[in-house]
């Protein structure tokens, strides 16, 4: 995007100040001086950025950087006609008197400057500037014939190479081997059966095979054993979940609209319908052209959502909610063009594409289609769009600025892909016709782009390295015949399952991922596919597989998204996770899931210590480990047997002898006597006490009920006996009298000293306030009455013994009304045994904690944990 002013703001203000000071031209100034001192700086400041040879395609074909060009003018006539203000378009433009030609577009010039321009023209428009000898400009991509670029030409099925290797299973294998031969590369052999089944489970289900499945497959001598396994996996519901999630990356899926102004709903209503539609479409092998039609024009293909295909329009509508309709449209243009066509049309919002044959008009053709569509409040699907009653074309926005309109851009298909005599779109908004053009069997991009995506997911290496940009600068694949062979096949049959089956049954797919050093050096990126690619599990597959081997994974499909980032999260497949676009949980960012902000061509795969922290420490992983280790398959028995069982369960194989030895040695070591860092929440308890008038506790009982984020005396609130007695994270309320004091209790784990610092107070100026006490055992260390107060207290330190507790006691100070209080305290314990424990009454406040959550992991559980976080589990050969 460009605009006029920013490059010259600083200088501009100096000029402005100067001009203001000098006033207009003085009589003793020569016309040349006047031009040089007043006019040239002004033109440079405000006009050159767009209207000069340096600016590239000059705005409106107008240049103002030479006398000749200025007089010649642009599309609307001469910019300057010496002596004639009326005919000088420049004056109309800066006067903002000509709608659509307000210049500069960033704001009207000050009157003094406009007057200078008028004076200049009136007095003959002296202008010494010669035609800039512009360097020969790089040819515009619009001048290049799109048909000269491989990707813009409909692929033809290539003829098979003359010599086909004997063991080729598919012509694709033959193409690769023939091309590799030219490079002196040798194919690696096919991987062993155990590797292949693990690879297939990862690619087609995102999960791991059980050892039984592996053993059966390894033992199956039937010639079609591999194909049967492939068919089984492709037919399973997990296939839809696996490939559905891949498509959700393309569609920038999320369950919230993003930022919304204060208090407005953020949930993207019905988002999960798009997710479930996507999964069902892949599981049911919906033809790809139909998928696209439903996603772009479900209002035509299934207007009442009878088949659920109207929900497919979430492809357009699950993006971020932008406040500005043009930004909303921009997001949708991007997902359509990069997602379906591998064309970066959004680059042409403000100017013709710098590299590709995409004029700005193309952008506004699509914008016109989308702006002629609307999302009804009461549609059959919350995700649907429909045509507006009166569709209309958009005018091009010059430089992307809404106040600066150019020619009308008729609603039609992209220039590079349009036939010369092709009629414009005329059916409603034109969305359905756009879908027709994208899905046409002879579209050179649609099927290539999708085949390349499928290939990338299955092989772990792309044929075309930029999966969402097939523009002029994109090199053809190392072996172009492979892409064209598969794309023509796909364009003919349009079946994703057929294509996936074809790819995974090639020999290319089945090759082992190890190779000689020479081969690695010769083709480090493996573009000739003579070996397999070692792959790291994506976040979804890693998490799902861990839950799977733990026996926890729930196979429920579809429905409301679930929050998987909190302890106790339901063990659903990750594809059903709630995705908050605005504040994506750290867990998702840490593991590089696709950003829901925009279409994602390819995920990043980073390795950062936060990932390892999650694997080492997160309560979610701990929970899964305990399940895995306690599951009935992994039963008692001696250590060697147990190790064999856990290897089988987690890694699906038998351990080697050295591994068995390492494992049994590890299991034999006693647990560390010092134990883990205690969970600071467990040092706290909350209850009711009867106290004597000085504040000593006579009798204490824990609160029995935790509801609505607070501890209370019973499920009835106020309680018939204890009234409003309650304790919450920061607040509380005593019950009535000395029998109803409320107590926050922190128990010391050893002898030592305890230091408190914090703030307490009381908000009401009515009633008699509350009395707050710090006591340890029978010693009252601090006591104050708080009323309508905010009382920070500085550090106080007291001795404490193991088994004793520090009590924060609040009583009603005599009368039980207006007694709501707040109390935040930090505790620092320094034990005589050398340990330091810090705790916060707010951070460490909690409801009841499961007893099990405190249990220290046994050695066996620790070992199970190691296998689940090992590289062997995380990588797929």
């Amino acid at each position: 995007m460009r605009s006029f002013a920013p490059n010259c703001r600083i200088a501009f203000s100096c000029v402005a100040a100067f001009l203001t000071f000098c006033g207009v031209s003085r009589a003793d100034e020569s016309p040349l001086d006047f031009f040089e001192s007043k006019i040239r700086p002004l033109l440079v400041e405000h006009c050159y950025e767009c209207h000069s040879a340096d600016a590239g395609e000059a705005g409106g074909n107008l240049r103002l950087d030479s006398a000749a060009a200025t007089r010649r003018g642009g599309g609307r006539g001469a910019a300057v006609v010496p002596g004639n203000l009326d005919e000088s378009m420049l004056i109309h433009a800066v006067g903002y008197s000509e709608p659509g030609m307000e210049m500069p577009p960033t704001g009207k010039l000050p009157d003094e400057q406009i007057q200078l321009l008028r004076d200049w023209i009136k007095t003959g428009a002296e202008d010494p500037r010669e035609e800039a000898t512009a360097e020969p400009k790089a040819a515009s991509p619009l001048d290049r014939d799109p048909a000269s670029h491989w990707a813009f030409v409909t692929p033809l099925r290539p003829t098979a190479p003359q010599s086909v290797n004997a063991d080729a299973r598919d012509v694709v294998d033959a193409f690769f081997v023939a091309a590799a031969k030219q490079q002196n590369l040798q194919p690696e052999s096919v991987a062993d059966r155990a590797t292949l089944i693990r690879r297939l489970y990862f690619d087609l289900a995102g999960l791991v095979p059980s050892i039984t499945e592996t053993d059966e497959f390894v033992a199956d001598k039937h010639p079609l054993a591999y194909d049967r396994l492939v068919d089984k996996l492709i037919a399973a519901p997990e296939f839809g979940e696996r490939f559905g999630r891949h498509w959700m990356d393309v569609a920038r899926y999320a369950d919230t609209v993003g930022y919304n102004f204060a208090g407005r709903e953020r949930r993207l209503i019905g988002s999960e319908r798009f997710r479930d539609w996507t999964i069902a479409a892949f599981a049911g092998d919906m033809p790809y052209d139909k998928m696209i039609r439903h996603q772009l024009s479900g209002d035509r293909t299934d207007p009442d959502n009878a088949q659920g295909n109207l929900d497919a329009m979430g492809f357009l509508t699950v993006g971020r909610l932008f406040q500005n309709k043009f930004d909303l449209v921009d997001d949708r243009i991007d997902v359509i063009t990069r997602g379906l066509l591998g064309m970066t049309v959004a680059c042409a919002r403000c100017h013709d594409h710098k590299f590709d044959p995409i004029p700005t008009a193309d952008y506004y053709s699509l914008a016109g289609i989308l702006l002629s569509s609307e999302q009804p409040e009461d549609g059959s699907s919350p995700l649907m769009m429909r045509d507006k009653a009166e569709p209309s074309d958009e005018r091009i926005m010059l430089r992307g600025q809404s106040g600066n309109r150019g020619d009308v851009a008729p609603r039609q298909f992209l220039t590079a892909l349009r036939k010369a005599d092709e009629p414009r779109f005329d059916d409603g908004s034109g969305r359905a016709q756009l879908a027709d053009r994208i899905t046409a069997s002879d579209n050179p991009l649609t099927y290539r782009v999708m085949v390349n995506r499928l290939w990338t997911h299955l092989i772990g290496q792309s044929l075309v390295q930029t999966p969402s940009d097939f523009g002029f600068r994109t090199e053809p694949p190392a072996v172009p015949e492979v892409l064209d062979e598969l794309a023509t096949d796909f364009a003919e049959h349009k079946s994703i399952k057929r294509m996936v089956r074809r790819i995974v049954t090639t020999q290319t797919y089945q090759r082992q991922s190890t190779a000689s050093d020479a081969a690695m050096q010769q083709d480090p990126e493996n573009r000739f596919a003579m070996r397999g690619n070692l792959r790291r599990r994506d976040f979804e597959s890693q998490r799902d597989s861990m839950l799977q081997v733990a026996g926890q994974l729930q196979r429920v499909t579809g429905g409301e998204p679930v929050d998987i980032s909190v302890a106790g999260a339901p063990p659903r497949r990750t594809v059903y996770a709630f995705i908050d676009r605005q504040n994506l949980p750290g867990l998702f960012r840490t593991f590089d899931i696709a950003s829901p902000d925009a279409h994602t061509p390819q995920r990043h795969y980073t390795t950062i210590p936060q990932q390892s922290l999650f694997m080492l420490n997160s309560p979610l992983v701990m929970d899964t480990v305990i399940h895995a280790a306690s599951s009935p398959v992994v039963s008692a028995g001696d250590d060697r047997q147990w190790v064999e069982q856990v290897f089988a369960r987690v890694l699906g194989r038998v351990p080697s002898e050295p591994e068995l030895q390492l494992a049994t040695d590890f299991l034999a070591v006693a647990l560390s006597p010092s134990g883990p860092m205690p969970d600071p929440r467990r040092q706290w308890s909350y209850g009711l006490a009867t106290i004597d008038p000085r504040g000593f506790i006579h009798q204490w009982q824990p609160f029995p009920v935790f509801e609505r984020d607070r501890w209370q005396a019973s499920s009835t609130y106020p309680d018939p006996v204890f009234g409003h007695a309650q304790i919450a994270a920061e607040r509380g309320h005593p019950g009535g009298g000395l029998g109803g004091a409320v107590v926050r209790r922190w128990s010391a784990p050893a002898d030592g000293t305890v230091t408190v610092v914090g703030v307490m107070g009381h908000n009401s100026d009515q009633g008699d306030g509350v009395r707050a006490t710090f006591a340890i055992g029978e010693s009252v260390h601090w006591q104050e009455v708080q009323k309508s107060s905010h009382r920070p207290y500085d550090a106080m330190t007291w001795p404490i013994k193991q088994g004793q507790s520090l009590d924060l006691i609040v009583d009603d100070n005599g009368s039980p009304s207006f007694d709501s209080y707040f109390w935040r305290t930090q505790i620092r314990f320094e034990g005589h045994d050398g340990r330091t424990i810090e705790s916060s009454s707010v951070d460490d406040f909690s409801g009841p904690l499961a007893d099990d959550a405190a249990r220290v992991l046994s050695r066996r559980e620790q070992f199970t944990h190691l296998l689940m976080i090992s590289n062997e589990f995380a990588f797929v050969d």
Binding site: D517, G586, S612
Partner: protein, 474 residues
């Protein structure tokens, strides 16, 4: 007292000792030797610097909500003359209607050798005025919080673009792989626009800012998964040693692949991070004299955390004043500004002192400001917001003040000026894009050449805008 260099050296030694103590053979050692470059975000800068690097770290003090420049760093005696009268400049269009000129309720006086005026609100910070370049001619595009926050943080008010901290960590790489390179701290919760303020957008996720609610005091609350309540540290060490052996067995059967080694090493990094992060965030480890200098409260603590983070090699620390938009004083400006400045003035002064004391001031760029300033004219009462009050100021994007100090900044000067009542920047105007270009320059980058290719084009923080403000640079 540790210089970053000595910390880096220490880490190196730790790494060697760790490897030895893990009982790994020479094979492991040589693999480990490869690791620093294979780990994402570690050591190596992503982009070679274009200019000498003046500053290596940034502490951005974000006074979110829009502090009033004319009540803090832009002294306008004419406000007294026009008090209660119509603004001589006319009332520029801002978010809400404003009325006559309102004088500043705060006293200004000159400070330092440079004699620049600062109001009593930042009396302590003003001790450092000779180290500060005060840009009084800042301007932005619109008078609303959301787009202005986006502009200030990402260079674009609407579209999804990476934040400045993400750009800088992308450009500079991490100086300490045990901590996140870009940290955003805010006591009590998110500022408005939330994590969009520190997002990586299309840059890899590792450049996203890590948000930390600095009202928490314990490291478990500050960094996710930093402790384990089910495994003793000694047992975790033992388990990690075994994991390293199992992973080494696994790697030995496969071709050299840096990803395998990177993941092996990342567990060791995570293990060290447990103690290093705890150390970085525990301000109680500071000497009492230092704690006293910063004073009490969330602001003081987060500034001290910022210093400890920068000292450990964190590149970009953004300190938000608080959740929401605390400096947005449409009414009761005198009381509210006094309270807010009271919370941070002492801490800012202490932070600058402290950076100078430990020798990091020259390598750290400190930035202070909001997303815009406030009007010299009084905001008119409005039902439901500042009903019945005429004692605040509206948003003002036409002119406001930010100051820079530290690495490469020429201190003791004011740059640019607003008009006589401080409504609009008129001299040497500095747009937010220009500020960004200048900050990148101080960090060693040409803002036109720090680019990232995405969706078919090369993006940059300043898009097609931005001019370096040369006067800022020493």
């Amino acid at each position: 007292m540790n210089s970053p260099l000595s910390i880096e050296k220490r880490n190196l030694i730790d790494r060697r000792q760790m490897l030895r103590s893990c009982g790994m053979g020479m094979g492991m050692l040589s693999l480990a030797h490869l690791m620093p470059t294979s780990i994402a975000g570690a050591g190596q800068p992503e982009i070679a610097s274009h200019f000498p690097v003046k500053a290596k770290y940034v502490i951005h003090l974000f006074a979110n909500g829009g502090p009033s420049h004319i009540d803090t760093f832009d002294y306008k005696p004419a406000l007294d003359d026009f008090h209660g009268k119509t603004a001589p400049t006319g009332n520029l269009k801002t978010e809400r209607p404003t009325g006559t000129v309102m004088r500043s309720p705060f006293k200004f006086k000159q400070h330092g050798q440079s004699g620049l005026y600062v109001s009593e609100l930042f009396e302590q910070t003003a001790r450092h005025i000779d180290s500060m370049a005060v840009i009084r001619s800042m301007h932005a595009d619109v008078p609303n919080h959301e787009p202005s926050l986006m502009l200030m943080n990402t260079g674009d008010s609407q579209l999804i673009r990476p934040s400045m901290g993400s750009w800088l960590t992308y450009g500079l790489g991490s100086a300490n792989e045990n901590l996140p390179a870009f940290v955003a701290l805010s006591p009590g919760g998110y500022p408005i626009k939330e994590s969009e303020n520190w997002r990586a957008a299309f840059l890899p996720g590792k450049y996203q800012g890590t948000f930390i609610d600095s009202s928490h005091q314990r490291v478990e609350r500050l960094i996710e998964n930093i402790t384990n309540n089910r495994i003793a540290p000694e047992d975790q060490r033992l388990a990690l040693d075994l994991l390293a052996k199992l992973n080494a067995e696994h790697a030995a059967k496969r071709d050299d692949d840096p990803r395998l080694q990177a993941r092996i090493e990342s567990f060791e990094l995570a293990y060290r991070m447990q103690s290093e992060a705890a150390d970085a965030f525990d301000v109680n480890r500071e000497p009492q004299a230092v704690l006293d200098a910063y004073g009490p409260g969330d602001q003081a603590r987060q500034m001290l955390i910022a210093r400890r983070l920068v000292e450990r090699g964190v590149r970009y620390v953004q300190l938000w004043h608080g959740a929401g938009q605390p400096w947005d004083n449409h009414d009761d400006l005198e009381a509210r500004h006094r309270e807010l400045a009271g919370q941070c003035d002492r801490g800012i002064a202490a932070l600058l002192d402290d950076l100078k004391r430990i020798g990091l001031f020259d390598e750290t760029l400190v930035i202070w400001g909001g997303e815009f300033g406030r009007t010299p004219t009084v905001e008119l009462p409005k039902e439901g917001s500042n009903q019945g009050k005429q004692n605040g100021r509206d948003h003002n994007h036409y002119g406001f003040t930010m100051w820079l100090a530290g690495g490469g900044v020429k201190g003791g000067q004011a740059i640019g000026a607003t008009d006589e009542i401080g409504f609009r920047a008129v001299e040497d105007r500095v747009h937010v894009h220009d500020l960004h270009a200048t900050i990148l320059r101080l960090m060693g980058f040409d803002h036109k050449r720090l680019t990232y290719r995405y969706a078919g084009r090369d993006f940059r923080l300043t898009d097609v805008h931005g001019h370096v403000v040369d006067d800022v640079i020493a």
